[in-house]
Amino acid sequence: MEGGASVAIFWLLAALTVGAAVAVVMLPNIVHSALYLVLTFIGVAGIYILLEAEFLAAVQVLIYAGGVAVLLIFGVMLTRRGHIRQSNPFNSYHVAAGVVSLALFILVVLALGRSPWHAFPGPWPEDTVGAVAEAFLGPYVLPFEVAAVLLLVGIVGAILLAREEKGEK
């Protein structure tokens, strides 16, 4: 049962994620694209749960679906121009872009098919949250602190950039 249900759930989640991603890219209405992006994020969180990385799944939903998606939707709503139904058109390179993307995908699939992965899923440490915390405060404490500084710089920079200048309209 374990194997059968996981396989079915994997295909379901994969179809949901990829379908929502294609909708993000193909839909002409940018607000709908943003909403399908939220669905993609939730699908990816489901994949993390399948890989038994629950802490990462919760963080994905909290930050991506509850934060980045809200930012993107605000960005969409604050920069509207013209009719909303044609707010997300393709540019003049879309054919070339499509060819390049398809070629890359074929390359990736060929590489996957020829690589002999002798890999079996082993068990994670029992308490992933504790293991991640120990990694953050142990070997990776420097990147952790640098990430904090990066976030601070990002916040200050974004506020400075998006602030309305007084007297200049």
């Binding site: 194997g3 994997f10 994969a14 994620t17 990829v18 991603a21 993000v24 890219v25 940018i30 694209s33 943003a34 992006l37 993609t40 990816v44 993390y48 890989l51 990385a53 990462l56 994905q60 930050i63 991506y64 930012l71 993107l72 605000f74 960005g75 604050l78 920069t79 121009r81 707010s87 058109p89 393709f90 540019n91 872009a97 390049v100 993307s101 398809l102 890359l104 995908f105 990736v108 996957l112 098919g113 690589s115 992965w117 890999a119 899923p121 082993g122 994670w124 440490p125 992933t128 991640v132 990694a135 990776y140 990430a147 990066l150 976030l151 990002g154 974004a158 950039l161 998006a162 309305e164």
Partner: protein, 102 residues
């Protein structure tokens, strides 16, 4: 049986869709959405490799967490730039942003 290749193929497909979105869309916010898709695909890759190859350590999850942090900061700054662009020139069209001098 879901092997590593399945997860990698899924991540590859998601990456390619995001790449197409980043390259082929006119609206700057849509390009940012494509970049987010690519970053998610990369995260799936990292966690899948960690799970299948070396589950004793959670290095892949830590790396994925850092990617999430950087992506969030990047979206914030990117959107601030787009909003500024929209305010000054009333256009979020990447094909129209071709001034070399402001």
């Amino acid at each position: 049986m879901i092997t590593l290749s399945h997860y990698l193929a899924l991540a590859g497909l998601l990456f390619v869709v995001g790449l197409f979105g980043a390259l082929a869309k006119r609206n700057a916010v849509a390009v940012l959405m494509g970049i987010e898709l690519m970053l998610n695909a990369v995260n799936i890759n990292l966690v899948a490799f960690n799970r299948f190859m070396n589950p004793g350590e959670v290095t892949g999850q830590v790396f994925a967490l850092f990617v999430i942090v950087v992506a969030a900061a990047e979206v914030a700054v990117g959107l601030a730039i787009v909003i500024n662009l929209y305010r000054r020139r009333l256009a979020t069209d990447v094909e129209e942003a071709d001034w070399l001098k402001w």
